[in-house]
């Protein structure tokens, strides 16, 4: 069992937890992810690593309620435990593996959307710890859904916040901020790292292609085992089939077939919906309403 040492609600439907997982905490790197399974009946849920403490042996995860298992997970608190917590999975971010002098010579722009702010954070933190200044754009639907603002402020060179409805920071999409920084403010970036909903990453990539700015994205498709076994997470990158779990999750965003990836994300939507309904309404729902047979 993997003890939960801290549990916090960051926003509606978004939760943060510190989990005791010494093996993962010892070796994990920015860009990698974990899979958690709450209990015997739970799903295996892939989650990005938001932070880690090697000495304390803890890993910080952030998740959003999307299906039956994440909804039940949200009910866990300090002192509870996950039955399974496995990782690290996937490949670390490129800059971790690359020649440090080259990385140091580059100007990075990080773009985070929604709950995607969580996996961006350890990357920016890594930059700060290695003496590299990086700019960060964080986008959220509305002020209440903005997460990790203070944490991000502490590690970013410049932090730009934008909300779809203008309730906090700028008003508008992250793409508008990118365009503004590059075209109006004359900022020069060598690499963009964009992590968020697929639709956001798609539009960021369309823009950065136009701007000639190489862009890395982190894909979060449907997954079961996370070790390359099932192929549920396959996607097309530059016309080749890749598995997000072992080949990624980070890929060259200009080569990813987002339209296909977004269609594939829908595969279990109705199935998950059914499981959630069962959880919310129990057996009373089935046949109870007289409409669904």
């Amino acid at each position: 069992m993997y003890q939960i040492l801290k549990a916090e609600r960051l926003a509606e439907k978004i939760f943060l937890m510190d989990v005791e997982a010494p093996r993962v905490a010892k070796t994990c790197q920015p860009g990698e992810f974990v899979i958690v399974k709450m209990d015997e009946r739970g799903e295996r849920i892939p989650l990005t690593i938001c932070d880690y403490n090697r000495n304390a042996g803890t890993v910080t995860i952030v998740f959003q309620i999307v299906g039956a298992s994440t909804r039940r997970m949200a009910g866990l608190g300090k002192g509870d435990a996950f039955q399974d917590f496995v990782g690290p999975l996937g490949q670390p971010s490129e800059f971790v593996k690359e020649n440090f002098d080259e990385v140091k010579g580059r100007k990075y722009l990080f773009v985070a959307g929604g709950v995607g702010t969580a996996p961006v954070y350890p990357q920016v933190k890594w930059m700060r710890e290695h003496g590299i200044e990086a700019d960060v754009i964080v986008g959220a639907k509305t002020k209440d859904l903005l997460i990790l603002e203070e944490e991000m402020k502490a590690v970013a060179a410049n932090l730009y916040i934008t909300t779809d409805d203008g309730s906090y920071g700028r008003k508008g999409m992250v793409t508008e901020v990118i365009r503004d920084l590059v075209e109006n403010q004359g900022r020069q970036y060598d690499i963009c790292v964009a992590i968020g909903p697929m639709i956001m990453m798609k539009f960021v990539c369309l823009l950065t292609k136009e701007l000639g700015l190489p862009t890395i994205v982190s894909m979060n498709p449907v997954m079961v085992d996370g070790t390359g076994m099932c192929g549920a997470c396959r996607l097309s990158v530059g016309g080749e089939v890749k598995f997000a779990c072992v080949d990624g999750p980070e890929f060259d965003g200009h080569l990813v077939d987002f339209d296909e990836a977004m269609k594939r994300q829908q595969i279990y939507k109705t199935e998950e919906g059914r499981a959630m309904l069962r959880l919310a309404e129990g057996e009373t729902h089935h046949g109870g309403c007289g409409h669904c047979g």
């Binding site: 093996r23 993962v24 070796t27 399974k37 009946r41 739970g42 799903e43 295996r44 299906g67 039956a68 298992s69 039940r72 039955q83 399974d84 917590f85 496995v86 990782g87 690290p88 999975l89 079961v224 085992d225 070790t227 390359g228 076994m229 099932c230 192929g231 549920a232 396959r234 996607l235 097309s236 089939v241 072992v246 296909e260 269609k263 594939r264 829908q266 595969i267 279990y268 199935e271 998950e272 059914r274 499981a275 069962r278």
Partner: protein, 462 residues
């Protein structure tokens, strides 16, 4: 009774079982087992033993069954095998022990597999526990993977007194026994779980949720965690796809995904969270045991199911019994047929599969007649789900993170057959990780050889 024929084994009715996940075969009861055991000729030079990869003393255990001393029979089997209830169910006996049986020259061979299963099931029901080593020797060995190879290797080493820890990447031990082979062929709780518990009772520890090569490397196990030798039995888990248009459509799954969802995650049960897209009309591409398992699972989830295989019935790699069961249950076979494209609607969901008729040409390097396309023979099968069951290959995670570990061009670890020795001193390997996808019993044989190899290596090193 007719001595030329096996005592028939009772099975669940085909129509009924096509709708549930209960075990298909009921196995022998004591009376039937003793009757079948009496058919054994107890040959002095027992050919059947030569056909068994783990060399169970077959005439000896059958003699005990006939005499009604089932515990003695269990002891005979336990000397050679840690997983008799599994092997009695999933071994291809027809090409191994039973294929060598002298009784089989004229008439049917002795039903050795069903007798092994009876002894194992009787032992479980009567609380038989294998004997652990009297003294531990204090030397630590790590085993990577808790499938048939790893469990066998670990069990043998524990019996010799080693302190063995198995590292398993998934949340449940058992490897293919747990995620791959379905409940109706190999019950998880009663059979798999019990035999794994028996291995643990020999003193073996199992640590789940550890991915060797990611969570910790082989080198770290040996240098930092005090393991003197490592056995890699990580299997062949990577699915293959055909590379045809439409293969990434919604509704196309690897057999691994489909079976993992159903078997490991128990998606077939309402009370588990993991979803499975059961499908209404399902095409399973391939002709092996895994294809049969996927087809029969889809059938039980309520689908109409077709097997699409490019050669003819004679070349089907699946066991005869599995093909027979699949047909009985209502799986339809499209033989000499090969997919060329998967059709989709505008939302990316599968609507059909274009297939091409094949004919058999000259034998290829595998000795089977090569399928050749018949031009202009394409037609479309209307399906909403396609399950690709084209075989699997080893995961490169361990070989790519262990310096000096030699692999061949198929990414299989290179290891000596007789002792599992790899190119790295102290590192041994066996099972599908070495051979590519094969059978449970061959993996168990490799696990045995690995245990012997490790014992020899550590005895010399001492």
């Amino acid at each position: 009774m007719d001595l030329l024929k096996k005592v028939p084994v009772r099975e669940q009715d085909a129509k009924a079982r096509a709708k549930n996940f209960e075990e298909v075969c009921y196995g022998y009861n004591a009376e039937e087992a003793q009757k079948e055991a009496a058919r054994c000729l107890k040959c002095k030079n027992a050919k059947c033993m030569g056909g068994c990869p783990v060399s169970i003393n077959i005439p000896a255990f059958i003699r005990e069954v006939e005499a009604g001393d089932f515990e003695a029979a269990a002891n005979v089997i336990a000397e050679a095998s840690a997983l008799p209830a599994v092997c009695g169910r999933v071994c291809p006996q027809e090409s191994q022990c039973e294929g060598q049986c002298i009784r089989g020259i004229k008439g049917e061979p002795v039903s050795i597999g069903k007798l092994e299963r009876f002894v194992a099931d009787w032992s479980r029901e009567h609380g038989f526990v294998p004997k652990a080593a009297k003294e531990k020797n204090g030397r630590r060995v790590a085993v990577v993977g808790s499938g048939p190879a790893g469990l066998t290797c670990a069990g043998d080493l524990a019996k010799m007194g080693y302190e063995v820890t198995i590292f398993e990447a998934l949340h449940e031990p058992g490897g293919v026994l747990t995620y791959g082979i379905p409940e109706f062929r190999l019950p998880k709780e009663t059979v798999v779980h019990t035999e794994i518990e028996n291995v643990k009772k020999l003193g073996v520890k199992i640590e789940t949720d550890v991915i060797i090569g990611k969570s910790v490397t082989i080198d770290e196990l040996m240098e930092e965690e005090g393991y003197e030798a490592v056995f890699i039995g990580s299997g062949a888990g990577l699915p293959k796809f055909m590379g045809i248009p439409g293969e990434n459509a919604n509704g196309v799954f690897s057999a691994n995904e489909y079976l993992t969802r159903s078997n490991l995650m128990k998606a077939f049960r309402e009370d588990y969270d993991t979803p499975i897209a059961a499908g209404k009309k399902v095409a399973v591409v391939g002709g092996g045991n895994v294809a049969m398992d996927a087809a029969r699972t889809a059938l039980r989830l309520g689908a109409e199911v077709y097997i699409v295989y490019r050669r003819s019935e004679a070349e089907l790699p699946a066991r005869v019994e599995e093909v027979h069961h699949a047909k009985e249950e209502g799986v339809e076979f499209h033989l000499l047929t090969n997919p060329v494209e998967i059709l989709t609607d505008e939302k990316g969901w599968v609507t059909g599969m274009v297939v091409r008729k094949m004919e058999l040409g000259e034998p290829d390097e595998s000795g089977r007649r090569r399928p050749v396309e018949i031009p202009g023979s394409d037609y479309t099968i209307e399906v909403d789900t396609v399950i690709m069951s084209l075989g699997t290959s080893p995961n490169p995670l361990i070989s790519s993170t262990t310096e000096g570990l030699e692999v061949n061009r198929r990414k299989c670890i290179v290891a000596e057959a007789e002792n599992g020795q790899t190119s790295r001193p102290g590192v041994f390997a066996g099972g599908d990780a070495v051979t590519g996808a094969a059978t449970v019993i061959l993996a168990m044989e490799a696990g045995k050889h690995g245990a012997k190899g490790i014992h020899e290596y550590l005895s010399q090193k001492a």
